[in-house]
């Protein structure tokens, strides 16, 4: 994962913005009214669910019509004076000098402004009244009472969830550009899961596609339904950056996920999130302790112990962070889940094979697995005909022989190439 695809594939032209055609038209008409010098309204409020292209549209339109974009969003501090200064300056300067610098002022996620920002909201209304540049606001919930003063002065433009086929089409375009072959069902699955949120769909696609040139329905089956309260990445992000145990612990309650699955997500992402070796070792030891408690929960049916395990697996990771610098690193899907589901079955086959050989070699299955089968695999690889006959002689079934062949055929282990002592273990 070099750059996130949601950044890489951000629309550059208006035509590239997916869906919501009527809203797009309405917004473009409004900008054109500004271009002509007779604005319909001073500001537009684009509202609708996350990931449907509100901000993307504004960015693409700005580029197309040659506007500079001045952006303020919810995570920034929005006190009254800051808003007045930035917005005020941006709103007047361009026309005063008569220069070609035209600006769109974008205030993202205005419904995310806190109660303390009431002064900020008032400031926005004031600016709207005397602006000479188009101001765009976005919000998820436009009917939030605190936005009432804004609604009357803004052109209201609604954005709806994207349709499944619209999401699929965009995903397919991305796959094409990335040189990835994707099954229709796989993309449909991702799209359906996203519930019309293109951003999350693209994120999911990127995670699934990592290191693959082909995506099938099997590859996406594990994607849990995104919980609308907090997606898993946000929860992970809280846990890895929390300053206190309670913050980390609380993050777990924001999402409806099996604790074991949560454990896997944390465990998988530990090395990429905690890059300092000391932090990593401490966090890993805490995770191992959580795992120990978890195993006791199952062994003794002591479900009351589970709380300890979840606290240590979240808080124990959070407090381990001391030297690691904050830096955004993408999260990965827990790879070993795929192994774990097949391992039980695999061990069963291995066990059956080992018991057939063990009884005749007068030793335990365990010894056969560790000290005999590796040699048989070597023979199977270098002299398949001989190896197969040998295994038949031990009454292995054809599927068991295929299983062993798969072990040497899948490129798991290389054929001996190195010569000399260094090859020794």
């Amino acid at each position: 994962m070099s750059i996130p695809w949601i950044v890489k594939y951000r629309p550059k032209r208006v035509e590239e913005v997916v869906g919501n055609d009527d809203s797009k038209k309405k917004f473009i008409e409004w900008i054109e009214s500004w271009v002509k010098g007779e604005p319909i309204r001073k500001a537009a409020l684009l509202y609708g669910p996350a990931g449907v292209g509100k901000t993307s549209l504004v960015e693409a339109v700005a580029k197309t019509y040659g506007y500079d974009l001045v952006e303020l969003n919810a995570s920034d501090q929005r006190s009254e004076t800051i808003i007045k200064r930035i917005v005020g300056i941006a709103a007047s300067q361009g026309t005063l000098t008569g220069s070609a610098t035209r600006r769109i002022i974008l205030l993202d996620e205005v419904d995310g402004m806190s109660e303390e920002d009431r002064g900020g909201l008032k400031a926005i209304v004031e600016v709207l009244e005397r602006t000479r540049q188009p101001i765009v606001l976005t919000a998820n919930d436009a009917w939030d009472p605190k936005l009432t003063p804004l609604r009357s002065v803004c052109l209201m433009i609604e954005f709806k969830r994207l349709k499944q086929w619209e999401v699929v089409k965009k995903l397919r375009d991305i796959c094409l550009k990335e040189g990835i072959e994707a099954d229709r069902e796989a993309l449909e699955f991702i799209a359906k899961r996203s519930e019309g949120d293109l951003r999350s769909a693209i994120n999911d696609l990127q995670i699934v596609a990592q290191g693959r040139m082909k995506i099938t329905i099997e590859d996406v089956g594990w994607l849990p339904y995104r919980n609308r309260i907090e997606p898993i990445f946000d929860v992970l992000s809280i846990i890895f950056n929390a300053k206190t145990i309670s913050t980390a612990r609380r993050a777990l309650s924001l999402i409806d996920i099996d604790p074991d699955m949560m454990f896997e997500w944390i465990y998988e992402n530990l090395p990429s999130q905690l890059t300092d070796p000391k932090d990593l070792a401490v966090a890993m030891e805490n995770l191992a302790k959580a795992d120990l408690i978890r195993s006791r929960v199952k062994l003794f049916q002591r479900w009351d112990l589970l709380a300890f395990a979840t606290e240590i697996m979240s808080g124990g990771v959070a407090v381990a962070r001391e030297a690691t610098k904050p830096r955004w690193t993408p999260f990965h899907f827990p790879e070993r889940i795929k192994f774990l589901s097949s391992i039980k079955e695999e061990r069963g086959v291995m066990d059956s094979i080992a018991s057939k050989i063990a009884s005749r070699c007068l030793t335990s299955k365990r010894t056969v697995i560790s000290d005999v089968i590796p040699y048989i695999l070597f023979m199977l690889m270098n002299n398949p005909d001989y190896g197969v006959k040998l295994l038949r002689n031990y009454d292995l079934t054809s599927s068991e022989i295929e299983f062993l062949k798969g072990k040497v055929g899948v490129g798991v282990v290389e054929a001996p190439r190195k010569r000399g002592r260094s090859a020794g273990g």
Binding site: L292, E335, I343, R366, V410, K418
Partner: protein, 325 residues
């Protein structure tokens, strides 16, 4: 068994000594076992020694010489690490000891391999079982470490200590096989096999057979090829990655060992343990690592997740590698 199927047998099975006379090594032990055959009497025995030194084979040869070709009717072999719990062992022993013997030898032999894998409690139960059936049944327990066998059992058994095969005995076995199979083994090839097997005959014979499957004269390099492939160098690799500070790569190696090679976590821990001594870290750090690995081993035995636990050790190793641990 027909000749044609014997052609495709594992050589450890095909060339296993059938009688005490065929055993080349462990001379003193064989001598004492012969006395049991002559007198048709024997005590409970404890065979202790490293893997591949002939403990189980000696038990089979003893039974063969005592009971004849059909010795398996009076002989039962169980493996403690494969059987599910002491109760299963007890029931099996009961049924076996109860049935009458067909020979002129007044007892049967029951071999319990890898007895040191039984917990102390299970060994106590085993001791009671041994006493209960002592009239009709003789026990031969085999183990790698006799100190892992509880004292009450040790005091009730004659202890035989099997030692790693010396080079000469290993060469005699290898030559016997090569002659029969028409395989050309050079002198340096034989030395290489001994060097990697370290007195473990099972390992030596398996290495020989794997090398022979390549269909060319077995010189030292061929042997090292086999060993380099078979012996999981991934364990060394995994630890080296960690020492260099690359935990992620180290964890990937661990996953390969566990999920693709199919090794048990406890086996990996065992191999890691023996490698700690070769690491380029201070003696003090080695002790810390051994201590931590012991803890990890215990947790895994308690049912904790193998990968997570071993990963915790690798993270610690990465810390030591940076000179911080």
């Amino acid at each position: 068994m027909s000749l044609s199927t014997r052609e495709f047998e594992l050589w450890v099975e095909k060339y296993r000594p059938k009688t005490l006379d065929e055993i080349v090594d462990q001379k003193e032990i064989v001598e004492r076992l012969r006395k049991f055959v002559e007198t048709k009497t024997m005590p409970h025995c404890l065979f202790a020694g490293p893997p591949g030194t002939g403990k189980t084979t000696a038990a089979h040869c003893l039974a063969h010489d005592l009971f004849g070709e059909d010795y398996r009717e009076s002989f039962l072999e169980l493996n403690a690490s494969d059987e599910r719990g002491i109760d299963v062992i007890r029931t099996t022993v009961k049924n076996f000891a109860r049935s009458a013997t067909l020979t002129d030898v007044p007892f049967k032999i029951l071999v319990l391999d890898e007895a040191d894998n039984l917990t102390a409690d299970a060994q106590q139960a085993l001791r009671r079982t041994m006493e209960k059936y002592t009239d009709t049944c003789r026990f031969i327990l085999s183990c790698n470490y006799s100190n892992r066998i509880i004292e009450p059992i040790q005091s009730r058994t004659a202890i035989f200590r099997f030692t790693p095969l010396p080079p000469e005995d290993t060469y005699i076995y290898l030559k016997r096989i090569c002659d029969a199979e028409g395989v050309k083994l050079t002198e340096d090839g034989a030395r290489a096999i001994y060097e990697v097997a370290e007195g473990d005959l099972r390992k030596a014979v398996n290495t020989l057979q794997a090398a022979a499957s390549l269909g060319k004269p077995i010189i030292a390099d061929v042997v090292y090829d086999v060993v380099g492939w078979v012996h999981p160098k991934e364990v060394a690799e995994m630890m080296d990655y960690a020492l260099k500070g690359d935990f992620s790569k180290s964890r990937s190696s661990l996953r390969m060992l566990l999920y693709q090679r199919g090794y048990a976590g406890s086996d990996i821990i065992k191999r890691m343990h023996s490698r700690i001594f070769e690491l380029d870290v201070s003696e003090k750090q080695k002790i810390e690592l051994i201590n931590y690995l012991g803890e990890i081993d215990f947790r895994v035995a308690q049912g904790a997740d193998e990968e997570v636990q071993i990963s915790a050790f690798l993270a610690r190793l990465a810390l030591v590698g940076r000179g911080l641990g």
